[in-house]
């Protein structure tokens, strides 16, 4: 039942409303609202009960295994939440003076900038992008600003591997570039020969994830970097998969010029049903002048904001204030809790979990498109055999997994692999949980063989059965409307 269906005209939640104010009759009538908006009129108990019960209809990390590939659904420490919600942080206005009312939060942000530089091997950092995609935007915009600043205005293309996240090409277009796709070779790496053929004076840069979304580490990355750099282009690193290499390899050492990080992935800030995230960017020295503002600096005496006035070449501002500071505080707390040793452990255990899970699923007879490669923090599995033999698709497997109390992996991405799952267990899951996933996958394949209907009509145990997406798109219903009064 929707909250609106529990509403009754005239119900009023007295504990949450200020006393009635004098009428605002200095505001001219033609600027004033006439009818009231369709907000629900419910009691505090009704609201609390409604949203508490709604919450129970979600799968989440706190309640289920959630091996969503490329999303790094690892444990979001409750301590990070508690510290970020201290009254002094929550109550601080973005324009509160830095000197008298900001040194606490700015110390955290400054140190986070330093840590992100260190883990990526880059020279400078701006925390301000509000999500991964905005970090990507900032990265490509800086590449463009760099070419522009050199007067090199011939560069019109961004190269993107065909396995890339959809945000990569979309971002390139937002920055005014044309996108050229680079194919993948049979081993899962970028096809270097194809790359060689397409680079040229029109190449602004390349956007790469390494390890790629195919769950493998591109072994020829140094060669790729050399090719692109020699053609005058720059290299952008999509940090979505940074969890796989934290403490093992630094993007800076691979030759990247700019990196964005997803703190809601690598630094375990809450995924929040789809946000908020934060997408800090770190760059090599040559891109430093172009970083988005504001940033935090320390002048030896105190922390202060770096703004456009002292960074005239900055690509500019990306939000009204300084991005998602509350998210960054959580990332800071997490990073400090891990520390040196903890951070070095992340990639190791994430990779161990992925390789173990892959090995066990392989032993159970599931097919891997790149069977000879190591898994990184994630791996791709294809159900094309099951689809063909039993008529049961990856989507059906995904829905049936829900009945086994496990969130489904990312399905049908990367686009190159048919009927695929992209599976990322993360380092915070136990071996028992991975074993339970293998058992569920094996059980579902048995069901697919013996009783495919139970799989193709799944899920059966959730608040709703399988939903009709086509109807949703065709007969758009995006807002509730009151029943017309008879």
């Amino acid at each position: 039942m929707l909250i609106f269906e529990q509403s009754q005209s005239g119900r009023f939640n007295g504990a949450q409303a200020p006393a009635e104010a004098p009428s605002a009759d200095d505001i001219p009538a033609h600027l004033r609202r006439k009818g009231r908006p369709t907000l629900p009129e419910v009691s505090e108990l009704q609201a609390v009960r409604h949203y508490t019960r709604l919450s129970q209809k979600n799968f989440s990390i706190d309640t289920q295994f959630y091996p969503l590939g490329s999303c790094t659904m690892k444990y979001n420490p409750r301590g990070a939440n508690a510290q970020a919600m201290l009254p002094g942080f929550l109550g601080r206005h973005p324009h509160a003076p830095a000197s008298s009312h900001g040194q606490g939060v700015m110390a955290c942000l400054f140190e986070l900038q330093e840590m992100l530089k260190q883990v990526t091997g880059m020279a400078a950092c701006s925390l301000t992008p509000m999500a991964g995609a905005q970090g990507e935007f900032a990265g490509v915009a800086m590449i463009r600003a760099w070419h522009d600043a050199r007067g090199d205005e011939t560069r019109s293309e961004i190269l993107v591997p065909d396995a890339a996240h959809g945000t990569n090409p979309a971002t390139a277009v937002m920055c005014g570039y044309k996108v050229r796709e680079i194919p993948t070779d049979p081993s899962g790496d970028v096809d270097v020969e194809a790359l060689r053929e397409v680079v040229g004076p029109q190449t602004a840069g390349i956007m790469l994830t390494n390890p790629s979304t195919l769950g493998v580490f591109d072994r020829r990355i140094l060669e790729i970097a050399k090719i692109v750099h020699e053609a005058g282009g720059l290299l952008y690193y999509d940090g979505a998969n940074l969890n796989a290499i934290l403490g093992k390899v630094k993007p800076g050492d691979m030759g990247f010029d700019v990196v964005h990080l997803n703190v809601h992935k690598t630094f375990s800030t809450p995924h929040g049903g789809g946000g908020p995230g934060a997408g800090p960017v770190v760059v090599s020295e040559r891109l430093e002048p172009f970083l988005p503002v504001p940033m935090v600096d320390h002048d030896g005496r105190e922390y202060r904001w770096v703004t456009e006035s002292e960074r005239p070449q900055s690509i500019g501002r990306l939000s009204a204030f300084m991005g998602n500071i509350g998210v960054l505080l959580r990332a800071y707390v997490y990073a400090r809790m891990l520390g040196r040793e903890g951070m070095e452990r992340v990639a190791g255990f994430a990779t161990l979990n992925a390789n173990y899970l892959m090995a066990r699923l392989q032993a159970e007879g599931f097919e891997m498109p790149f069977p000879d490669r190591r898994a990184t923090h994630e791996f791709v599995l294809t159900l094309k055999h099951e689809a063909k033999t039993y008529g049961v698709s990856a989507m059906d497997f995904a829905k049936r997994l829900l009945d086994y109390g496990q969130h489904a992996p990312t399905a049908y991405f990367p686009l190159l692999v048919p009927e695929c799952f992209l599976i990322e267990p993360t380092e915070t899951e136990s071996r028992e949980t991975l074993d339970a996933f293998v058992a569920a996958m094996a059980a579902i394949r048995n069901e697919a063989r013996d009783n495919p209907e139970i799989v193709t009509s799944a899920p059966h145990t959730l608040p709703v059965k399988r939903l009709d997406d086509v109807k949703a798109a065709r007969e758009l219903n995006l807002t509730w409307k009151p029943e017309p009064v008879a």
Binding site: N13, A24, I27, H50, N58, H165, P169, M174, G272, R431
Partner: protein, 469 residues
């Protein structure tokens, strides 16, 4: 190990299953010359107790001053229930609801959110939220360029009364797509945008006119006239509004004869804490006709295989993960938790509660301005109705006053001269429902004292304000 559950026995058995001897061996495809020698510059890890203590000290440093700054972020009361529910693990630690059947909590909540936002704006539809108000305006500009079928121009008229940081953000985000932002000056007496100042900018056509309400100075624009003018000249009207103000003010969908086409704004006043500027959320609503041009996630109602209602992400064909380089935007994150907070916040307040909040803000701002302008030399700069905020001219440099009041734990307001050089010595002050009589009087008294001191003979560097000494 913090957050890693593996025992030594687990590691041993798992490596055996994989068929390698060490975890390091799993990285053997990485060229050896790339392997880093570790993160030596990082310090050792802290346990939760240790980091907790550090963070408590830092939070205490930032204090809990009385806040009279607005300028795009507003210090409202947020019911305790809001964040107690939002931080429940099932909301906090879930991801984008790709598996709809396992995400009905988030999905239904977003559907309710969309309904509330659309209704608040008097428009047909809403998306599931964007990053913040400023970037939402940038997306609205891009959307208007896509959506306007009458005028294929890429020019956008944007008044100088729009939040300066919003204008900067829009510039950053749209400049590379050949979109031209044309600034519209404001009337120096009234602080609003006159239709007459739009006329000279007409020449080359335009995709949209941006209309803020209230504007950055807190002043109420003549939204009907501006909207009608935009429509009369083939442009779309993009409203930038404060959602709390909408409880009192005419919603964008009712502006002028046909209503604004797109409305957007900063959602922070609906349940998000100030938090140094984020995470907040941008909202966006529009007319049904433009829904397929709208960026961001959208949730639709549908039926399950047994005919029961349910909710799912829809219109995904617009999005980057399907459409890649042809997507409406590169956005894939929304501000899910903040939209959830706003939904619960609005449900707890209801239409009457929100109306009272807006009324209290309005009354308190009136009282604040009245009190401060009783201080000698302090003057209102613009005449006419306001919401939430007002520009005052001080008889001394603003920075001095802000610093002196800051030392008393009173945040005096937002200094305007950097963004508007013509508004030297001007400050934008704000009151919400949280700032009652006593707080206002305290501000007034401190200001009196500070101005008296700065008027004194010892402060020779200051220009003597008119009428004193």
């Amino acid at each position: 190990m913090p957050f890693i559950p593996h025992t030594e026995a687990d590691v041993k058995a798992m490596l055996e299953t994989v068929g390698v001897d060490t975890i390091e061996a799993l990285f053997d495809e990485i060229p050896a010359e790339l392997r880093s020698d570790g993160l030596n510059e990082l310090s050792a890890g802290l346990n939760e107790m240790e980091i907790g203590r550090l963070m408590q000290e830092r939070a205490a440093e930032d204090g809990l001053p009385a806040c009279f700054i607005g300028a795009g972020a507003y210090d409202h009361h947020v019911p305790a229930a809001v964040w107690e529910i939002v931080t429940r693990g099932e909301f906090y630690s879930a991801y984008t609801p790709y598996q709809a059947e396992a995400s009905q909590g988030t999905l239904q909540l977003v559907y309710e959110y969309q309904t509330m936002i659309a209704s608040l704006n008097g428009l047909d539809v809403s998306n599931a939220s964007l990053y913040d108000g400023a970037s939402a305006l940038a997306e609205a500009v891009l959307m208007a360029v896509r959506a306007n079928r009458k005028d294929k121009s890429r020019r956008i008229l944007i008044p100088a009364t729009v939040h300066p940081a919003y204008r900067q953000t829009v510039h950053t985000l749209v400049r590379n797509q050949g979109i031209e932002l044309v600034e519209v000056p404001y009337e120096p007496e009234s602080g609003i945008t006159a239709v007459e100042s739009l006329e000279p900018l007409l020449e080359e056509g335009m995709a949209a006119v941006v209309i803020p309400q209230p504007n950055f100075f807190g002043r109420l624009e003549e939204v009907d006239a501006l909207t009608d003018w935009a429509h009369a000249h083939g442009a779309l009207a993009i409203a930038v509004v404060n959602p709390v103000a909408l409880a009192l003010l005419k919603p964008p969908g009712e502006w002028g004869a046909k209503g604004a086409d797109i409305a957007c704004g900063e959602g922070q006043p609906l349940g998000a804490p100030l938090a140094s500027g984020g995470p907040y959320f941008g909202f966006m609503a529009c007319k049904q006709a433009y829904v397929r041009q709208m960026p961001g996630r959208v949730v639709g109602k549908t039926l399950d295989s047994e005919g029961r209602p349910g909710f799912t992400l829809t219109l995904q064909a617009r999005e980057q993960h399907i459409r890649r380089s042809k997507a409406t935007s590169n956005i894939c994150t929304n501000q899910g938790l903040l939209a959830a907070a706003a939904t619960i916040h609005m449900a707890l307040l209801g239409p009457r509660g929100l109306e009272r909040v807006a009324g209290a803000c309005h009354a308190n701002t009136g009282a604040l301005v009245e009190r401060l302008t009783r201080v000698e030399g302090v003057q209102r700069v613009f005449e006419g109705p306001v919401f939430h905020e007002t520009v005052l001219r001080l008889p001394v440099p603003v920075d001095t006053v802000i610093r002196a009041l800051g030392a008393q734990d009173v945040l005096a307001g937002y200094p305007l001269a950097e963004d508007y050089p013509e508004l030297e010595n001007c400050i934008l002050v704000c009151a919400t429902e949280k700032h009652g009589e006593a707080d206002i009087e305290e501000y007034g008294r401190h200001l009196e004292r500070i101005l008296d001191r700065n008027r004194g003979p010892a402060c020779t560097k200051l220009r003597p304000p008119e009428g004193t000494i």
